[in-house]
Amino acid sequence: MKPLNYAILKYFTTVDEASADDVMQALKEDYGHYKHFNKSSVVESLMTAVTNGLLEESRYELDENGEVRVYFRAHEEGKNTINKYIQD
């Protein structure tokens, strides 16, 4: 099993776009027992990946609770970098 942060980034090489909620849903089975597996940590990881050019934001909307939900995607260069550093 990969470290949680690796799994979060790697997930984006398999989907077109995803929000933090989508990521958590996808990784819940393997990482749900982690103490730091929570939405704010996942959002922060995703935004940090954006700052460092691994991901980009694709769109945002309001969720059912009235909170902003941001969707992220890995562009081609980001996908290549993630796959180069994090192997399966």
């Binding site: 942060n5 730091h36 700052t51 562009h75």
Partner: protein
């Protein structure tokens, strides 16, 4: 309606309540940016605290004798180089114990083991070696060869980190950011310059070699900040710092200290002095405190760099050149009553300069006075009617 970043890729916004969702989005990005800036500044504060506790630890117990009466009859070479390396090793190992404990408590220890044997893990180890034993040795050697003049030279590290990040990781570095970095460098230079005795400056080969060593130290720390900051976008920062401190502590203790002992011509001295230092209770109390603060000094430095970019992160961390003398004055001068730990007026002036420099890197200060300015760190969104 389409919303997009100015000058960057298009980002669509779904839903109808434009102003509400836009405001919330801008608030989210601004809060993230401010948090990163706060973390990077906090790293500078912890750097100042760790420096003060380390200085105090290296003046207590057996260290008081080594640096004072010297009944052990240590040579000037051993006192200068070996004691500095032992001090750094104990500090980093103390920090490694704190980091491992905190990672275990937070359930991240398993990720430490999973990360070490991966590419980003190797990169973190490389960063630790460059910024730990190599840069520290260059800094200490520079101090001995050229004197305090290398302190302001080492303040170049944020500028070096920002330039390296532009070329290695394509991070943004525009003219305004360069100006801000220049202001921060000038402020750190001013603080460092107060330690320089201009009457004793010369341009001998030894001094020039020392200046080069000081530049190498700045290069090492700049490289560490740039690489480890990027690494922290892949590795959790608490996992990263555990790898960093364990690597640096072990390399200092098992490689650097024995090498210096060999050069000093007495290999056995490495074990003897290290054992005496580790068993000196009055000193170890302060090393435990310095290791705790070093943990946050470095982990928050990495995290801050990864959250707001190397240029801004390293400039905010660079405030340690103010916080170092500040906490040394508070702890050693005010609390412990040791003479010689004052706070020159120029340091306060430099602190204001640094704050302004950081602001200039973060945004154009004039934007604050414009109508419809976005929150600090939020992207500019252009609305186009379709």
């Amino acid at each position: 309606m389409v919303n997009k970043y100015s000058g960057s890729d298009m980002m669509e916004m779904s839903g109808n309540d434009t102003s509400s969702v836009e405001k919330k989005y801008l608030k989210l990005t601004s809060n993230y940016f401010k948090k990163g800036l706060g973390i990077a500044t906090l790293s500078g504060i912890f750097y100042g605290l760790y420096t003060a506790f380390l200085t105090l630890g290296m003046s207590r117990g057996v260290w008081a004798d080594w640096y004072g009466e010297n009944t052990a009859m240590l040579s000037a070479f051993v006192i200068t180089y070996m004691l500095a390396a032992i001090g750094a090793a104990i500090n980093d190992l103390s920090s490694a114990v704190w980091a491992t404990g905190i990672a275990a408590f937070k359930g991240k220890l398993i990720d430490v083991f999973r990360t070490v044997n991966t590419k980003p893990g190797y990169i973190m180890i490389f960063a630790a070696l460059v910024g730990g034993p190599l840069a520290t040795t260059a800094y200490v050697a520079g101090l001995q060869l050229a004197g305090a003049i290398i302190i302001p030279i080492s303040a170049l590290c944020p500028a070096i980190g920002a330039i390296l990040s532009k070329f290695l990781f394509k991070q943004e570095l525009n003219a305004r950011m360069m100006l801000g970095i220049g202001i921060c460098f000038a402020a750190s230079f001013l603080i460092g310059w107060t330690s320089v005795d201009i009457n004793n400056l010369d341009a001998s080969k030894v001094v020039i070699l020392g200046l080069f060593a000081g530049f190498l130290a700045a290069l090492g720390w700049g490289l560490e900040g740039c690489i480890a900051g990027y690494g922290t976008s892949m590795i959790d920062y608490e996992v990263g710092i555990t790898i960093r401190q364990v690597t640096s502590g072990i390399a200092n203790l098992l490689v650097l200290v024995p090498i210096i002992a060999l050069i000093a011509g007495n290999f056995a001295l490495a074990g003897q002095l290290t054992t005496q230092a580790f068993t000196s209770g009055p000193a170890m109390v302060w090393f435990i405190a310095s290791g705790f603060c070093a943990l946050f000094a470095f982990s928050l430095w990495y995290k801050g760099n990864s959250m707001c970019g190397t240029a801004l992160g390293m400039a905010a961390n660079g405030t340690f050149s103010f916080w170092g003398p500040f906490f040394s004055w508070i702890l050693l001068g005010v609390i412990m009553g040791i003479d010689g730990w004052g706070m020159p007026l120029i340091d306060w002036f430099a602190a204001i300069m640094m704050a302004f420099g950081i602001w200039v890197i973060a945004e154009n200060p004039l934007d604050r006075f414009r109508k419809n300015s976005v929150p600090l760190g939020a992207p500019i969104i252009e609305n186009e009617e379709e």
